[in-house]
């Protein structure tokens, strides 16, 4: 794996100065490598992982399992493209197994999600069925464990 991508995957806040020292590359080389990745769409965005449960923000997440009648010529892509356009759809995966698309959706209230399922998702002509599961609590996401901030409790031993 490209070391630069690996580092940015770990921590997108690394500066070009830090990356250049860690990877033994010049800052200019780092900048142009990142620019190339952005141009090619390898790097799509830089975001922060926030434990919203520790804030006063109201939100609900759900995972919806969707069965689709695949379209001739297009497979599942047409439906997936359409669903991707909804900003409330946070993640969207084509799955193996008993259902086809996993839609991870976020709303402010349960009603928002119900509205999406009944008025936007289930009425699509290729959607055969959907099954909605609400997220009760996040334990780990994107490789990061949720919980109290980790304190450095290492002792100074000499």
């Amino acid at each position: 794996m490209d070391k630069l991508l690996q580092l940015l995957d770990e921590n997108a806040t690394y500066t070009t100065k830090q990356l250049s020292a860690m990877l033994d590359m010049t800052e200019d080389d780092i900048k142009s490598a990142i620019a190339k990745y952005e141009r090619e769409g390898v790097i799509l965005a830089y975001k922060t992982i926030i434990d919203w449960d520790k804030t006063d923000r109201e939100f609900v997440n759900a995972i919806i399992e969707v069965k689709i009648t695949p379209k001739h010529d297009f497979g599942f892509d047409k439906v997936a493209e359409k669903l991707s356009n909804y900003p409330e759809v946070r993640s969207l995966y084509l799955m193996s197994g008993v259902y086809d698309l996993a839609v991870i959706i976020e709303g402010r209230t349960i009603r928002d999600i119900a509205y999406f399922v009944t008025h936007k998702l289930s009425i699509l002509e290729d959607v055969q069925s959907c099954s909605t599961h609400f997220v009760l609590r996040t334990y780990k996401d994107k490789g990061i464990t949720y919980g109290p901030a980790v304190k450095d409790e290492r002792g100074n031993c000499l």
Binding site: N11, T13, A21, L23, D24, D152, R154, N156, C157, L158
Partner: protein
């Protein structure tokens, strides 16, 4: 009133109190300090290793093991030493100890008798000299030099060897300097002891943490296995400091004596930790590589920043410490570190904590995140601008 002067051993009371302890106590009492002082990994022990310990507890494995350790663990350590460092030991020549510290203690006590000289190259980890004194031995300090990249200089070693020399301590990769010794450099040392009755105590606790080249153990050189005691452990390589898991590998004649001391003083190393260690040594090679890569990045980052700040530092090739030269700022190492702490709330360890020849240097641990290192560097930079 009891007269403690009469109760306490003069050897114990004569041991120098660790000066650095006071510094650490002060540090612990202060808030908002950004420190680069800790001599242990910032990683948590990999989960599969912790899980093996938990499973052993669930299975009720709460007994003593045999004195020398669980046979499977001893076998696996022997295989590991061969796989990673080309060291040929049987499981019967491996003793599981309570951390690398016990391994060092046992090695010294098994060999050193009153009046024996033990050559200790400094700067080094703080335990060798006191343990030699407790055994009645005479520590002979061999100062290593910046211009030798803190390696043992064979000419200087030759002058230090006398009829009374019983043991030479070799602690590479080195804490605090990060120095290593190559095969060729070790060969020069081996040539001096090959036809003697001098034993090498090779403290290889940082053996896995070398950058750019693999660690070479002096025991792999011709005729050296029979006169070398290897002290090592799991703390640094697998981020297992709190488990207190170390080991000794030594030829059977030495091993037999070491085992006796261990069995009378310790009985056996903690059982739960031994089960964790089996998992680590069997399936932990990838964890070592992952953590090492991270240390290497931080090492390069630190060196680059020192260079930019005009702080001279030789390139450490092992362990997770840098040992910059702070002499040019006109303060003693202790003054430098004390003032840095008081004025900028940043803590690093004065080189003098590791020997008198540490004057002019400081130990900086990079067992911290880049973000944390950055905060500390900002404070160091601001401090040196005031000097």
């Amino acid at each position: 009133m009891i007269d403690y002067e009469k109760v306490l051993s003069p050897v114990a009371t004569g041991l120098k109190p660790s000066g650095i302890r006071k510094f650490f106590d002060l540090l612990d009492s202060m808030h908002d300090v950004v420190g680069l002082t800790v001599g242990q990994p910032d990683f948590v022990t990999p989960w599969h290793i912790r899980e093996a310990a938990i499973e052993s507890l669930q299975a009720g494995k709460t007994y003593y093991t045999s004195n020398a350790g669980i046979p499977q663990l001893r076998e696996e350590i022997a295989k590991y030493l061969d796989r990673r460092f080309d060291l040929k030991y049987s499981g019967d020549e491996v003793l599981v100890t309570v951390g690398g510290s016990e391994a060092i203690d046992l090695a010294i006590r098994a060999c050193v008798t009153p009046g024996d000289e033990v050559i200790i190259p400094t700067p080094c980890f703080v335990c060798y000299e006191p343990i030699v004194r407790l055994a009645g031995g005479i520590p002979v300090i061999l100062e290593t030099r910046y211009e030798d990249k803190f390696k043992v200089n064979p000419e200087m070693l030759k002058k230090a060897i006398t009829q009374k020399t019983k043991m030479i301590v070799l602690a590479y990769p080195n804490n605090p300097t990060g120095a290593i010794m190559t095969k060729e450099e070790l060969e020069d040392i081996a040539a001096l002891v090959r036809d003697t009755n001098i034993v090498i105590l090779s403290d290889e606790i940082y053996a896995e943490l070398t950058f750019g080249r693999r660690h070479v153990s002096i025991a792999t050189l011709p005729d050296m296995r029979e006169r070398t005691i290897i002290a090592s452990g799991f703390s640094k390589a697998y981020a297992m400091t709190g488990w207190r898991m170390g080991y000794i590998a030594a030829p059977c004649e030495i091993f037999a004596q070491i085992l006796k001391i261990h069995q009378y003083c310790i009985m056996c190393a903690p059982t739960t930790s031994q089960f964790a260690a089996i998992e680590a040594v069997k399936n932990g090679d990838e964890d070592i590589e992952r953590m090492k890569e991270e240390y290497d990045r931080r090492r390069r980052y630190l060196l680059k920043n020192f260079a930019d700040m005009g702080i001279e530092c030789f390139e450490p090739e092992g362990a997770f410490y840098a040992y910059p030269n702070i002499g040019k700022f006109g303060l003693s190492s202790e003054e430098f570190c004390q003032r840095l702490l008081n004025e900028k709330r940043c803590a690093i360890v004065p080189g003098t904590a590791f020997g008198d020849d540490g004057e002019g240097f400081a130990r900086i641990s990079y067992a911290y995140s880049i973000k944390h290192i950055d905060q500390a560097l900002e404070r160091i930079e601001a401090f040196i601008k005031t000097l």
